[in-house]
Symmetry: C2
Amino acid sequence: MRIRPGRSAVVPQPPFSPLVARLPETVPFVGPEALARRSGIPLRARIGANESGFGPSPKVVAAVAAAAPQSWAYPDPENHDLRAALAAHLGIGMDEVVAGEGIDGLLGLAVRLFIAPGDAVITSLGAYPTFNYHVAGFGGVLHGVPYAGAHEDLSALADRARETGARMVYLANPDNPMGSHWPAEAVEAFITALPETCLLILDEAYGETAPAGTLPPIDTARPNLLRFRTFSKAYGLAGLRIGYAFGNSRLVGGFERIRNHFGLNRLGQVAALAALADHDHLGWAVGAIARARGRIADIARENGLAPLPSATNFVTIDCGGDGDYASLVLAELAQRGVFIRKPMAPGLDRHIRISAAPDSELDILAETLPQALRAAYGAG
Amino acid sequence: MRIRPGRSAVVPQPPFSPLVARLPETVPFVGPEALARRSGIPLRARIGANESGFGPSPKVVAAVAAAAPQSWAYPDPENHDLRAALAAHLGIGMDEVVAGEGIDGLLGLAVRLFIAPGDAVITSLGAYPTFNYHVAGFGGVLHGVPYAGAHEDLSALADRARETGARMVYLANPDNPMGSHWPAEAVEAFITALPETCLLILDEAYGETAPAGTLPPIDTARPNLLRFRTFSKAYGLAGLRIGYAFGNSRLVGGFERIRNHFGLNRLGQVAALAALADHDHLGWAVGAIARARGRIADIARENGLAPLPSATNFVTIDCGGDGDYASLVLAELAQRGVFIRKPMAPGLDRHIRISAAPDSELDILAETLPQALRAAYGAG
């Protein structure tokens, strides 16, 4: 490489944009495969990413296998059939729903649509890290509001949004990582309390497993509400990356300005369509998830820990110590091939989070949790 | 909705970011499904998107079907196994290759990494519209350089890059939409002629079908070169959205700052791995594509048209008239259920572009092209 005289041995190279130059290389979540590669410990129980080990519908598997030979053809960039089915499912217009590469992909687009460098964005301290990653990626300024116990603090979030003139607020209902939920009326009051120029990003990834009365009625007339759902959780299709967002057509239309139109893969579209049509499987999976939550809670209590109520496909468990102790428990489980995750924010960090899963995996949890607790207690 | 007094009936709503507010809703390419939906004319021959109707390897199809039941698990966000296989395939390090949701998705990320609003970006007039879409999306200022005949004009591109202080130059080799190619030495001279602070986006989507000596030797020491390849063309996997980019680890590492880490679907990763391992199928497909190019050229000549030499999986054909006439030919083919595309830029627009495909589809081309030409001639 040439060294230009008088420029003190700076190697000429393409500079990152000023916004990107400030960003670290990062991964919001390290995957279980990576953890196993680094530790050399084989994965025995994959119960940390809130996937559904109960799997997709057999009809979905059959539809994907049948469509595999057509993988040579680009997907429909308008996602027409999937959007039509989602619109019918939700009782809204096709121009009020957009599909994308998981909620993660859609969150990135939503931030890009509405957040310019310096804009204020509100979230809860300890809420979804991938949202924060996207806000940082577009230069937004995050303001974190502490949880109130196991719940996101709706009135504090709304207050902070008004104080900061925020452009965007993130709320997950049901909540991840705490598993709590607000009833629909509380969410509606929250929406009403926000300035109409402030967009609410309402993440309903766990909506299918929530008690009746958790999800507000759909009202796409609201000018400042986008709701996000996914096929990754109850539908058991995390691997195919299909999320969707719905709301006012002005907001949804914005995605057409910037999205990767051919981004949603063909087999994912096929799978989502088949999944949406198989009500029986969804009902079965939601029931299986509820039973697994019960068993996880039982295992926790048998070990002297306090499970929290859950509206999701995971159970958050208070380990009874501090954040360091909970981290030790998590590390000891990892040593035994059990992959789970935990919240890291102060106030939440004494908890660990365990995903609903088939009995074969929960058997391993039941076997290893007492060992992990003993080891953590001894080390702590 | 509230109307605020004194603000002339402006409905309060979340404003788009200043950058997005200037963008139109757009689709770089309208898909064949959408055309069929709008026209009501059933699709008989899908030979317009440079897909490979010869399909993926049967081993790929089997691998995808076998992996379908595991669709409940998130993909590995590090794409470890695929990147390891690509690194071995290319003879480079794993930190020198990144996989993403098609070349389209990676182009969007590359533009975001290096282009700030107002930065100059160079491309050829009539080259890949999706690249232009991403440049506009991040506020880059595009400078278009006319083709020199059927080739991108390398010396004019380099001159323009220096004149404008461009941050980025796009070059496709082999070229789309003209099917032409430059030999490796010309591309290497072009890279050397660019300032090292100007990143060359070298799109080699059609690299597998190019004559020997088209692709420059791999040299990841270059500070300003990213090369893009895909499983969408010769490998026959456009539906699964798997592209990759490789180059200097500093450039490749940048993607970790902004990419959607879980964006590459699990079945796509499985398919790409299997496709990369099946050399026999790739060889067969490249042979079949070459034979189909020959047949398309024959059909063109039989109809008095002039096919251009092609290093790609399509044949660009000079219709002998002006752009309006070529558009008429395209419209008349569409009326007959034949989906093709054409370049729109002045100088290129008298051409149409037909994808290599199995004989069953080229039979339909052979049947309909004379009809379309007669109809276009009559209408013109």
